[in-house]
Symmetry: C2
Subunit: 274 residues, 2 copies
């Protein structure tokens, strides 16, 4: 068999590492795949690390110890994150997005896998060190964004339901208050979906008064699961926004009124601008 060149190895390794974020590959796996010595693979990885850093493509990390190896973290550099979010802010501020009832149409953003994957990686970036075991969201609109956050973190996505369905087995159901009107809603999660002692990152697409987020936090308490953070793609902020909502990490902030003539004022969240 002809010897496999470095060019070939680094191209294949770039694909394999990046398609499984936060997943540890042992050096032996690559040695077998390319029929090469460990020292050679180590040099390949050093090369990949510097390429990814130079071009802002994410981080290649070496994990030491018995279960050691190498993994890819889709960390988005802050300048890149901010310019991507700023671009999307311009799009979100378009008056054409304001629907009757002064709702902001964001469904098209939530439907673009590439864009969502970048936004998901930006949202995941502050949580790599928090080691969540899973991402939690509640149906429906937040699912695509939450899935991409889960993909970036290399963990499963757990979806709470508005109504429990029999094909999920026994469930835990909570009631919570949503919206200024104080409407009572329910949220259910299959018992087998999570385990006591795990760590959850809560993700949703939109929040105004934080009611749904509070519901998810309460649901996690019922399961004895620790909440490592709350991330929401778009946060509406007004004078009557509850204090509690300051702990939510969002990407986009909508301030003031939304109307069909002027559209919405959408800006990047503060933590992105620091």
């Amino acid at each position: 068999m002809e010897k496999i060149k470095r060019n070939v190895r680094v191209a294949a390794m770039a694909k394999l590492l990046t398609e499984s974020p936060n997943h540890i590959f042992t050096l032996s796996q690559f040695c077998t795949l390319f029929d090469t010595a460990k020292s050679t693979i180590s040099e390949d990885i050093d090369l990949l690390r510097s390429v990814f850093e130079d071009f802002g493509l994410g981080q290649i990390e070496t994990v030491t110890g018995a279960a050691g190896g190498v993994k890819f973290l889709p960390v988005v550099p802050m300048d890149k994150a901010l310019s991507f979010v700023k671009e999307t802010c311009v799009d979100l501020s378009d008056p054409g997005r304001v629907l009757p009832g002064n709702f902001l149409y964001i469904q098209d953003i939530l439907s673009q896998p590439d864009k969502l994957e970048t936004l998901g990686a930006i949202m995941a970036t502050p949580y790599f060190n928090e080691n969540p075991d899973f991402v939690l969201t509640v149906e429906t609109k937040g699912i695509p964004f939450a899935l991409m956050v889960a993909k970036a973190l290399g963990v499963p996505l757990v979806i709470a339901r508005r109504n429990h369905k029999s094909f999920e087995g026994s469930v835990v159901t909570i009631n919570y208050i949503s919206g200024a009107g104080g409407e009572m809603k329910t949220m259910s999660l299959a018992k087998r979906a999570v385990k006591a002692g795990q760590r959850a990152l809560i993700i949703d697409d939109f929040t105004k008064d934080g009611g749904t987020v509070r519901g998810m936090m309460e649901l996690m308490r019922e399961f004895d699961v620790t909440c490592v953070g709350v991330g929401v793609m778009v946060q509406r902020r007004r004078s009557d926004t509850p204090q509690f909502c300051n702990d939510i990490r969002s990407l986009f902030v909508v301030e003031g009124e939304i109307d069909e003539k002027n559209g919405a004022t959408v800006t990047p969240a503060e933590w992105l601008t620091k």
Copy 2:
């Protein structure tokens, strides 16, 4: 500035191309990024093409013409697809998955982003040449799988709702019959979500009598959208399965009865074994 080496270029290009499937990059973009001549980039692409083919990592395609360039298609080779599906069949056949009422628990498969991305690429593979404009699914369980099919195809995911919500603007609603019991259900889609004349690939996570799939096909007719195919992750097949369901392309087939003692008999769909 030091000249950027081939090693570095191919590693970065592998990452950039694969993270945006079916998206055309012009050679000029890469020339600018790496400060290199077009002929050099062409050689890099030839190298990448053969690496991806040799290791079964997908296809690098050259697109000719004015809007030409190069793109990545996450085509899964048939042998790799079959062995991945077979592995998952073993998991799905576990009696521990049978819930009271003889339902099959598949939520954990639907919650693993990496696994879903591979299954999504396998499902997308027969449809690259059909050029769908979007993937359509209906809430809730099918959304993660459908999003990964959409990502592989490089198109948006459009989600029909069980109940229309005001933050999506005006909607078209249809009624359809689901299940052997003949229950009447409704499905809605925002008018601004799709355009007449577009092409849709319909995706869901599970089907038995094809009722929901029929509903989605009818919804597309209301929008004057062509349906290029129907893909479903898990298909239940019994003696009374309607003829219509033979046109559904699934990944996993569950045949016969499901019970708590023996589990389910899950096999790869026929098209994967040819």
